[in-house]
């Protein structure tokens, strides 16, 4: 019995060794790590980005005469798992660059790992300023929350004529708390009223019951509710708010743009307004048209903004690789930092000194169960 087990073990070892021998040599492929939530609360957002990245890989499979291989690491929508997943990409897979992650908190969990491992990372839709601040190796192809907060505060003030706002934020999510703060600062400045924010309600990721918070908000009777957070919780917040008889406009941020937000919220999310990165109604570059057509063909649905950003992050890394002419990660980092007027699907990318893209914001509304383009806002 024992001998039988030992021989089985030996066989397994032999298989692994042979298997390892079969894989292509390091120099034949360029590995790009895809660091996204594939499971857990943020999975829908992460999967949209992965779709964009995979499409880009399909359309542009080679650079510097080598094949680009995507290594997908699931960070499970969890900050601790995110650090593990990033470490795996850096230390075990030895990727040349990393794309991701959906969710600023998850990206921030990887910050030190990519910096110490000297692997350049390009975030697609993580908007919290702290993702790239003080980190030479983290970049992103989207705008950041101080801008997004201004956009939504302006919208609430001038388009909705709101003078009193309430906040519902996912309190353990850096993205939501940051965005809420920028919204509050701007909204107070616009109204000139220190007390313009009548209520701030918190909830945790994964909470399902928001009735107590919303009942308190209802008692304050705000003109608008700003509710940045993960799409599933947000959809539940909105539907519970409507059931409690809260009828004021509810607005939010880019994380809402997933099919699941519509499926879970159903008629309750009709009319909600949020800021995001890109709308298919407003293709910006030649690449946009190419992306939209290829995406529709590949996945048989309309592309979400974050899918376009995932696509752009991949293209941006390829472009920097071409310019640097080598797979050296430090050189690659320097080239990414020099990116100027790069034409991506979701707009033209110029990275500033922090590694953030300066871009327009798009405002969308949920109309007849679909995300519909409303407006484009330029950065000041």
């Amino acid at each position: 019995m024992k001998a039988w087990r030992v021989s089985l073990l030996l066989l397994l070892v032999a298989l692994v060794v042979v298997g390892a021998g079969c894989t292509k040599k390091e120099s034949d492929v360029i590995k790009i790590g895809v660091f996204e939530p594939i499971t857990g609360a943020n999975a829908a957002g992460g999967q949209l980005e992965v779709e964009g990245i995979k499409l880009a890989n399909k359309l542009y499979p080679e650079v510097l005469g080598k094949k680009v291989e995507l290594v997908i690491a699931d960070n499970k929508s969890d900050k601790v798992e995110a650090a593990t997943a990033a470490a795996r990409l850096v230390e075990k897979e030895k990727v040349t660059a990393i794309i991701g992650s959906w969710g600023s908190s998850l990206s921030m969990a990887a910050g030190d790992i990519v910096r110490q491992g000297k692997v350049p990372a390009v975030g697609a839709s993580c908007t919290n300023p702290l993702v790239t601040a003080g980190n030479d190796y983290y970049f992103r192809v989207c705008f950041i929350d101080p801008f997004q907060g201004t956009v939504m505060a302006n919208y609430a003030y001038s388009k909705l004529n709101a003078r009193k706002a309430a906040i519902v934020q996912e309190v353990n999510n850096d993205y939501a708390v940051g965005l809420a703060k920028y919204f509050m600062d701007n909204f107070k400045a616009l109204t000139g009223d220190e007390n313009a924010i009548v209520a701030v309600a918190n909830y945790n990721t994964g909470d399902q019951d928001f009735s107590a918070q919303l009942t308190n908000i209802k008692a304050q009777n705000p003109d608008v509710i700003f509710a940045p957070g993960n799409f599933t919780e947000s959809a539940l917040v909105i539907s519970q708010a409507r059931k409690l008889g809260i009828n004021c406009p509810i607005i939010g941020g880019d994380t809402w743009e997933t099919q699941e937000f519509l499926d879970i919220g159903q008629e309750a999310v009709e009319g909600v307004v949020f800021s995001t990165f890109f709308a298919t109604e407003q293709p910006i570059t030649a690449e946009s048209a190419k992306f939209i057509e290829a995406y529709r063909k590949e996945y048989n649905k309309e592309p979400a903004a974050v899918a376009a950003l995932g696509y752009d992050a991949y293209l941006l890394i390829l472009d920097a690789l071409k310019r640097s002419g080598s797979t050296d990660r430090v050189k690659l980092r320097d080239e990414i930092a020099r990116t100027k007027n790069f034409e991506g699907a979701a707009g033209i990318i110029t990275l500033d000194e922090n590694g953030d893209a300066i871009k327009n914001a798009v405002i969308k509304v949920v109309k007849d169960g679909k995300f519909t383009y409303l407006d484009t806002i330029m950065p000041q």
Partner: protein
């Protein structure tokens, strides 16, 4: 705080509390009979919501057919888990069975992720249940009235079954002394399998109600409700069915009131349940109704 505002909070609390109570009943019943904390209870509850999702959304079966079907399937699943994870360990120390229960829980969670994906899905709640009734300035979902009724009916049905029927008598006998029960000609395996089936059926009722109230389902959705309902069962006196209902209400109303009156502590909402658990274990380990009933269940 205005009175109508308080009423709204109270109705929210009762609604949440009765849901906790419903799930806690199943937890506590299995413990009462077998002295086993079935940690997979929350995951069986989660599976029930997926069964309902597939019935209504994928196969387009009307809800009034799907829901009974879900109950049957979930009961079968519970019996299956018992047969695979607990029955082989019947003679083993209690701690082994406990570990096996945790294993079963992780297995179900990860199986769901592999089979159905990690992305949350919408729960197809029939309109009939989710409509809102307006009483003065208080908005109450119809479901808020139904859940306590369902909880009460489940409670009465269970008490009747355990105290007045033959199989109930067998369950009580098994809970007192398995060996003696076997000697008296009771089929232990059948009785225990039945207990699990019944517990899982209650989990399915809870799952359906939960899904209608919070129409979003995902593989890990059973974890926190599972833990909270376990706490509710301990507060009420684990093994005591009436106690589980009381514990559920205390926990649900307590949570809502915590968030309502101390909004700054919202982030500690889940911690509230655990603090309550620690306090109960320190000062009254038998729970609120733990002492009164000498005979558990």
């Amino acid at each position: 705080m205005a009175f109508d505002l308080f009423l709204q909070h109270l109705s929210n609390g009762i609604s949440l509390g009765s849901l906790y109570a419903l799930i806690a009943i199943g937890y506590t019943m299995v413990y009462g009979i077998l002295r086993l904390i079935n940690f997979a209870h929350g995951d069986i509850f989660m599976m029930a919501t997926y069964f309902a999702f597939f019935g209504i959304v994928t196969f387009q079966i009307p809800w009034f057919i799907t829901f009974p079907l879900v109950l049957v399937l979930t009961a079968a699943l519970g019996m299956g888990v018992e047969a695979v994870a607990y029955r082989p360990l019947r003679e083993a120390p209690k701690i082994s069975i406990l570990i096996s229960a945790i294993g079963a829980s992780f297995f179900l969670e990860n199986l769901t992720i592999v089979l159905f994906g990690g992305v949350p899905k919408p729960f197809p709640a029939p309109k009939l249940f989710t409509d809102v009734v307006q009483i003065g300035t208080v908005s109450i979902q119809k479901l808020t009235f139904y859940i306590p009724v369902v909880t009460l009916l489940s409670l009465l049905g269970l008490v009747y079954l355990i105290n007045k029927t033959k199989v109930g008598m067998a369950m009580r006998a098994v809970s007192m002394d398995q060996e003696a029960a076997r000697v008296m000609g009771i089929n232990i395996d059948h009785t225990i399998a039945f207990t699990f089936g019944l517990g899982s059926l209650l989990a399915a009722v809870g799952g359906i109600m939960w899904g209608m109230k919070f129409p979003q389902i995902q593989p890990l959705m059973g974890v926190i409700p599972g833990l909270k309902c376990f706490i509710a069962a301990v507060i009420g006196g684990i093994g005591n069915i009436g106690g589980a209902v009381i514990g559920g209400f205390i926990l649900g109303i307590g949570e809502i009131m915590l968030v309502a009156f101390l909004p700054n502590l919202t982030g500690y909402r889940d911690a509230f349940a655990f603090v309550l658990l620690i306090l109960i274990l320190l000062y009254k380990p038998t729970g609120i109704l733990g002492e009164k009933t000498a005979e558990k269940v």
